[in-house]
């Protein structure tokens, strides 16, 4: 009962938010994490942000996040 992914809050209004992971944007709720703000890296499970993620530890823990610099570089190439 534990599938959860790190994503960054990019929009927030009340407890309705949009979280982004590798360019994909998901509608989520922050009801369980009132301390979340735009820019926070959070753990998303079943449509809810359930925990704050320590950014330093995150890259060590999640391989996909570790690849985010490579991903952002390709995005810059496409748009720039």
């Amino acid at each position: 009962m534990c599938l959860a992914i790190p994503a960054r809050i990019v929009e927030l209004e009340g407890d309705k938010a949009v979280a982004e992971a590798m360019g994909n944007r998901w509608k989520i709720k922050t009801t369980l994490l009132p301390e979340a703000t735009v820019g926070t890296l959070v753990l998303v499970h079943a449509g809810f942000a359930i925990g704050l993620i320590n950014e330093e530890e995150a890259k060590e823990t999640w391989e996909l996040l570790a690849q985010i610099d490579a991903f952002n570089q390709t995005q810059d190439k496409i748009s720039g």
């Binding site: 009962m1 534990c2 599938l3 959860a4 709720k29 009801t31 369980l32 994490l33 009132p34 753990l43 499970h45 079943a46 449509g47 809810f48 359930i50 925990g51 704050l52 993620i53 320590n54 530890e57 995150a58 060590e60 823990t61 999640w62 391989e63």
Partner: protein
């Protein structure tokens, strides 16, 4: 990364040598089972180190009675069943939601909010939300119930199959036949309940409890930490999932669970009744309880099929020791959930034998 794997593996080797017997580590979360399987970790471990897939995935621990109830409600007129994908193929006494859905009224949802939205969009239907999962998922259901209450949404109800991890772990360790040396604890349940929640297990049963995330490296590091404790004859609660686990957990989520739910006795497939191991809606929210709405209750089913999923889940027997294995029960004609779930112990064993070698 290779160095960290190497370090963890050498700790595991040391532990195996120093204990000079099989070491059984149980994980109690379906997501751990899946990740272990997908990354082929078992094939990299020392031969003496055994990973037991405990009662942790909603597919495997949901009692027959719960699934039968869902199927019964699905037959009712003007009912929409909203369920997470995990439950669609679980067999009840007579088929699964997938196979028995003649009314075409089963909707797969990603969130309890989607289920609530379904109720808002279909005022003439009663939406029954199949609410399964541990403490990771329970808060989401609680939020939906709270919202339904505040907004006066009456065509929404919940069939609560939510379970609590600590009572299950205690029940497993209380069985005197158990062979568990340590627990690999579910990282995301712990994000909610906090790592302090495992102290009773350590204090009562003296078994290491190590919290790990679900990436393969996390699991390997978790096993390495368990090995370290075994070597040093230490028993403690430790987390290798520092990115997101705290000692106290998510107190907002805990409060939301407390607002709507209270612990109740419940049935776990194969484990039978475990006290205070499930969540039931509190009296002030009982109008959102599907059992109350429809005047039904879970009837414990005498499982006469001969299914021994429960014993497999607890690591008491290996799949081939079940009389149904490979004969009346196989991935194409599954009887129990351990064969339905493609990462269930029985399905995995059927296809690949122990540790990933092909069954002969």
């Amino acid at each position: 990364m290779l160095e960290r794997i190497h370090n963890a593996l050498s700790l595991m080797d040391k532990a195996c040598k120093s204990l000079a017997r099989q070491i059984n580590i149980m994980e109690v979360c379906g997501t751990h089972t899946v990740s272990i399987f997908r990354s082929g970790i078992a094939s990299t471990l020392p031969a003496q180190m055994k990973l037991l897939s405990g009662p942790g995935c909603p597919v495997c621990v949901t009692d027959l009675s719960y699934i039968n109830l869902v199927l019964e409600l699905a037959k009712e007129k003007n009912v929409l069943i909203a369920t997470y994908g995990d439950m669609v193929r679980v067999p009840g006494s007579d088929g699964s939601l997938e196979r028995k859905n003649k009314n075409n009224n089963v909707m797969v949802v990603l969130s309890s909010e989607d289920a609530l939205q379904l109720a808002k969009d279909n005022p003439d239907k009663m939406v029954v939300f199949v609410a399964v999962g541990f403490e990771t998922t329970t808060p989401a259901t609680a939020v939906a119930v709270s919202e339904a209450d505040q907004l006066g949404i009456e065509n929404f109800c919940v069939l609560s199959g939510h379970k609590r991890v600590i009572p299950a772990m205690q029940a497993l360790l209380s069985d005197k036949n158990n062979k568990i040396d340590a627990f690999l604890c579910p990282g995301h349940v712990t994000v909610i309940i906090g790592s302090d929640a495992y102290h009773p297990i350590v204090n009562q049963f003296a078994k290491p409890c190590v919290v790990a995330g679900f990436e393969p490296m996390q699991i390997i590091q978790g096993l390495g930490e368990i090995s370290r404790q075994l070597i040093e004859h230490k028993v403690e609660v430790k987390s290798v999932y520092e990115a997101v686990v705290t000692q106290k957990g998510n107190t907002t989520a805990q409060k939301v669970i407390d607002r709507c739910f209270e612990p109740a006795d419940g049935y776990w497939r194969g484990l039978g009744k475990i006290e205070n191991s499930t969540y039931k809606l509190k009296p002030e929210y009982e109008r959102f309880d599907a059992c109350r709405r429809f005047g039904v209750e879970e009837k414990p089913v005498d499982d006469t099929t001969g299914c021994r999923c429960g014993e497999v889940l607890c690591g008491l027997i290996e799949p081939p020791q079940c009389a149904l294995f490979g004969k009346k029960c196989s991935p194409d004609i599954p009887v129990g959930p351990c064969m339905v779930s493609s990462e269930g112990a029985c399905a995995a064993w059927f296809k690949y034998g122990p540790k990933g070698e092909r069954a002969k």
